[in-house]
Subunit: 211 residues, 2 copies
DNA sequence: GTGTTATTGATAAAATATTATCGATAATTT
DNA sequence: AAATTATCGATAATATTTTATCAATAACAC
């Protein structure tokens, strides 16, 4: 298992491999081949093999990879066994959807608390996570050593929330508001612009051409 | 305005430029420079200029681009003036969040109807869109000439919904379930795997290195 | 008007990512 | 036991994307 630098597209493909392997039935095949995965996900076997070479302990000729090992290697690389705590701000529909999402654990995320400023939401529990008063955000984040902030508030409030989270000591922001947050260099920001993501789809559809 | 092929990363950057320009105040600057946009979005001016060269009618030396023109060019390229109708399947939290999202219009998407099989949801209206019985999906999609299907149902049901949508004549699928949908070649599929997207963030945070 | 400067857009160079080639190896077949 | 075949992994070739360089141009200053 070499430590090769991995490209962002490759990284995303790795998550797809893990997804595919995880949803294999319990008594599934003991081994999988790069070609098999490739066929399933409409990729080339060469690409799959190369991607896996960077994170797996390797396969055997004529047999392929041991399924269980490969899953373990992918989970390790993608972070399952190195979990980080996160706080979500904005318990609206999108926020609740994320709070209810069960798949994050596979990638090392645990949302431990939510914040909102709507009195009707404060005090409620969603999927086992308490919704706290947004006024307590900075303090609680610091006390709980939270590293990741998830922003699902309306655009107008996103920057303010972001600043508060940073004041609370978080290191990374996952931002669902379609605004460009200003942050210090050291903060890692990932923007999740649904509309932009969609734009790619409509464009591809019109061109009938993979962009 | 040349017709250059655009890379996927470039395409995503274009959406960010549009976002930034759109949120400029009403009486904002009449002109913008590539360097200005770049500084705002933490990119290089060279990259911004190159991206814009592919879709805009061009700027003037020493002045930059005319803001209004640039917005128009980006909107044109990204599809605003060529809207497609979409149907959303699965009116849970995520579905409702998308139904309530106002930003899609900028990129040429209009969600015209939602489907679900929960009797408590059927008949309701969310942000002006009716929630219909999932049993009517294929028929209605065809009658309404819907081109895009948005899948926000639990993973186990995603493939079935997808098949039904295709039977209903849709051309593109935006899939939020973390499964690999099997579709005919001609169908354009965009997977939106939240957990995978997140994995990138946590990894970057740990490495403190842009992946 | 002439010189200076900010800015674009084209072209070239460098970096990155994908795809192809091929030798090595271990299971299977003969 | 030898030949065959499926498969991996390394290396090389190609393609793509980003970054740098630089000439052209139009506004501005003098």
């Amino acid at each position: 298992m070499k430590e090769t630098p991995i490209s962002l597209p490759a990284y995303n493909r790795l998550t797809r491999y893990l997804n595919y392997l995880q949803q294999l039935p319990e008594g599934g095949p003991l081994n999988v081949s790069a070609a098999g995965i490739a066929a399933e996900l409409a990729l080339s076997d060469i690409q799959v093999r190369k991607d896996l070479a960077a994170v797996s302990r390797g396969g055997r000729p004529r047999v392929g990879y041991v399924t269980r090992e490969l899953v373990a290697d992918l989970e390790h690389f993608l972070g399952r066994d190195n979990s980080s705590d996160a706080a979500l701000v904005g318990a609206g529909h999108l926020g609740q959807a994320l709070l209810s999402y069960e798949n994050f654990a596979s990638y090392g995320l645990k949302i431990v608390v939510a914040f909102d400023n709507d009195p009707r939401l404060i005090g409620r529990t969603i999927n086992g996570k308490a919704v706290m008063d947004a006024a307590k955000m900075a303090n609680l984040c610091r006390r709980l050593s939270i590293r990741i902030g998830i922003i699902t508030v309306p655009s107008a409030f996103a920057q303010g929330v972001c600043d508060t989270l940073i004041a609370g000591g978080i290191l990374a922001v996952w931002n669902f508001a379609p605004v460009n947050l200003k942050t210090p260099e050291r903060i890692v920001v990932k923007n999740e612009d649904m509309a932009a993501s969609l734009a790619v789809l409509t464009k591809r559809m019109r061109l009938d051409q993979p962009l």
